[in-house]
Amino acid sequence: MTETTTSTRAEVCVVACAEIFRGAGEIMASPMSPVTTIGARLARLTFEPDLLLSDGEALYLAETPALGAKAPIEGWIPFSKVFDVVASGRRHVVMGANQIDKYGNQNLSAFGPLQRPTRQMFGVRGAPGNTINHATSYWVPKHNRRVFCEQVDIVSGIGYDKVDPANPAFRFHHLHRVVSNLGVFDFGGPDHTMRALSLHPGVGADEVAENTAFEIAGLGEAGETRLPTEEELRIIRTVLDPKGIRDKEVAA
């Protein structure tokens, strides 16, 4: 029995989030939650050493510390300059989603009608700008029909059906991956709809279908999400997340 057979679901998710950045090169990686942050840092410590990572405030980290730990810095990235990076395209963000549909439209603004919602969340934040300017992925720690819904109430991040092919302003739109606690998805289905790339070990196509309000392409053919290597597990457990914060975001 190898070490990797004991990986938790959270660790599989961390590696899937790290894989989001494979091939990204020297760009700013902007993860927005603990699991995605561990993933981005794991990517930098293994296969994407040139990634730029911020401390979540205004500083670029020169080294790759554990979650919540301090590290030497290599630069300054205040909010005002983040918008310049966004417009330049040298960024890949992994946002959350209160709702996401089959074309990748995402909502983190509110539920219900625009001017009188039933529940108010954050507002659209940077989602409209992110999705029209650079690579965007989503991380959903609890895959269910409420999140993976038929139609989002308020389009914050734009999906493939919102792209106007006649307008070159949309040419940078690129939704790369959706990683959930059940699997890894992209938009390679018919008409740029959501497609299953892999399901996490122990997850069946039925479970994903039951928890998704629309049809996901390729569910039957999806393989299994790769397990962390022993070295990746060591880095996750001893270097990046010794306190096990990942397990609070994704249940074992």
Partner: protein, 292 residues
């Protein structure tokens, strides 16, 4: 050089109902909360608020001061994240909102600062932002075709012209030169450049000589031609993060919890809002010593 010192109430006395007011800071960071509290004590109403929203916008909503809001988000930055009073105003339809991408807020302020009617930006296209603006937000076709002959249609972000800007910095002099001591200037300089009248509160008022020695020169983001009035307000950003003190997480949770029932809010309001700024700061010190 003019001495521009004023009281909090002097500043509010220069504002009028119906004005468009830009509020500096970001989320629950370096908000001019003492000035916001002074507005809560006034009879100002019907305000249009522009900003990266936090409890500043929430508190103004709690008192029914807001008619319309232009923002990219409203966040408390730490759990429980959502501002209770902004959420209430939205779900009751009490305010009209012009929600937009975060970058669009900066773009609109830049247009105003440059005295341009608009600036082009990609952000917003295809999203619900266009719907939020109910026809107020237009697009513009580029006059410059690309190499392939096609032209881009972009959002024409209108100038966010402000009648007044309110900002809070850590350190300043009586003339309106001021610096931040934290890690991010946010957009406070841009708010001041976009406004007709510009009001600054500072935690600490010092002589110019001390100001320029206390910080790297690059941190002095405001100069006196960008500021019309200066208020010394120690703890003026409380309970939000400032450069010299952190967000008061315990108090912020208290604010959110207090909003849950009319009774607890009445008590919060009586203790912290229907009082002078000095009494507020004293009540906050008393709160800090409480258990739990």
């Amino acid at each position: 050089m003019r001495d521009k010192r004023m009281s909090l109430d002097d500043v509010v006395g220069e504002l009028r109902s119906g004005m468009t007011i830009g509020i500096g800071g970001w989320g629950s960071r370096r908000k001019p909360m003492a000035l916001v509290r002074a507005i809560l004590r006034s009879d100002l109403t019907d305000l249009t608020v522009v900003g990266y929203g936090g409890p500043d916008l929430g508190l103004l909503c709690s008192a029914g001061k807001v008619r319309k809001a232009y923002y990219g988000f409203v966040s408390l930055d730490s759990a429980p994240f959502y501002d209770p009073w902004f959420a209430k105003a939205r779900t009751e339809g009490a305010i009209t909102v012009r929600e937009m991408d975060e970058g669009m807020v900066k773009c609109g302020l830049q247009a105003a600062a440059a005295r341009l009617p608009f600036l082009p930006i990609r952000a917003g296209l295809g999203s619900a932002v266009m719907d939020f603006w109910e026809g107020e937000l237009k697009t513009v076709e580029s006059p410059y075709p690309a190499a392939d002959g096609r032209t881009e249609t972009l959002v024409a972000m209108p100038a966010l012209n402000l009648d007044a800007a309110l900002v809070h910095l850590d350190l300043g002099d009586k003339h309106g030169n001021a610096a931040y001591t934290g890690v991010d200037p946010y957009f406070d300089d841009l708010y001041c450049l976009s406004a007709e009248r510009r009001y600054l509160s500072v935690d600490r008022l010092v002589e110019t000589e001390e100001l320029v020695k206390a910080v790297p020169q690059q941190a002095i983001i405001l100069n006196r031609m960008m500021v019309d009035g200066v208020v010394e307000a120690p703890g003026g950003a409380h309970f939000t993060f400032s450069g010299s003190y952190g967000r008061d997480e315990k108090f912020q949770r208290h604010y959110v919890d207090a909003a849950k029932t009319p009774e607890s809010w009445a008590e919060f309001k009586a203790t912290y809002l229907d009082v002078s700024e000095d009494e507020y700061q004293a009540a906050v010190r008393a709160f800090a010593t409480q258990e739990g």
